[in-house]
Symmetry: C2
Subunit: 202 residues, 2 copies
Amino acid sequence: MIRLLIADDQALVRGAIAALLGLEPDIEVVAEVGRGDEVLAAALESRADVALLDVDMPGLDGIAAAAEVRAAAPACRVLMVTTFGRPGYLRRALQAGAGGFVVKDTPARQLADAVRRIHRGLRVVDPALAAETLTSGESPLTGRETDVLRAASHGGTVASIAQATFLSEGTVRNYLSSAMGKTGARTRAEAVRAAEDNGWLL
Amino acid sequence: MIRLLIADDQALVRGAIAALLGLEPDIEVVAEVGRGDEVLAAALESRADVALLDVDMPGLDGIAAAAEVRAAAPACRVLMVTTFGRPGYLRRALQAGAGGFVVKDTPARQLADAVRRIHRGLRVVDPALAAETLTSGESPLTGRETDVLRAASHGGTVASIAQATFLSEGTVRNYLSSAMGKTGARTRAEAVRAAEDNGWLL
DNA sequence: GCACCGCGATGACATTTGTCATGCCCGATA
DNA sequence: TATCGGGCATGACAAATGTCATCGCGGTGC
């Protein structure tokens, strides 16, 4: 019997996945949570064998939650599930100790198999996403560039970004410019979008 | 027996919801599709009583699909499901003939009840979202303002927006400026975000 | 008919943004 | 140690963006 923990912020999806996997004879759903910062406690208390974690969650994102689980409950393996197949997500999830990574538009019947593979210690990675990750490479953005771009992602002015990052306005413009160069964007908004699509802002 | 059609672009979610509702004794899932432009044909062919439609789908968005279904298969009632509780979505969904509207973070067990209510011709609307919709009001944006803002939502320059909308650059700047005024935004990107959050760009 | 309103357009203007040359600091390397 | 390179920071300058006043056109409604 595989003891499974499910973490997803959308209650409907969480419950539906629980119902789907609950139909499997060898899987038992022992915990369901809707926030990243509740994952670890639930994993410990329920003694789950496998944790199915969504990347986008309030409180703590799924990748950080995966790292927590791997550190404090090494017996519990992690399978990440996400809506967005972003190269950077896959890379960081695996670095955080996740055993697998699937996107939400994979066929439903494959999910149970993925859980079983993870439980046996095997790796499960979407092949297309893996290829994309390998070709896209790691983030070319430097630390401050990432900070500034993340601050810019809400759409504010340079002045507000400068305040948020404790930098001079000129410096902010500089980092934005350099980030735009590296992403091939002609606009700040394009750069933000490109970086988000690659998962470089986490 | 309620004959149910499920439309959602994420195969995993679609399958999981099918599994969840398939457990109900009085519900039978008779069709599953992953694109908006496949909804109508599937509804007709499967003679579904209720269509469960996600808003975000490729091909044709769920609201347009709902209008199609109501026009060509009036016997099939529509329940919209969405990730984002945007005021404008609810308004337009109901105008398109949907009988109900639920967000994906409602508890899973309520979904079956919602389907039954819809089947009986009742209305199902998330109360919090309804309140937000009523207070936020209809879109204050004029047609062209919406067009320009939508074209701007990808982050391009004024020149590219002008090309895409067949307008002069000055005119584009004017519409952007006026949209920014109406949304209370200080930046084009902020205006885009505000309009998206309200569902005004659909 | 006439006022009104949304749409499309223009040009001038002040601000904001993006680009560039430059300098500092620190760690790596010859 | 001397030098090099990369990340970090700044200010000046050019280009783009946002703002404003104004105009003509075509419907709508009184």
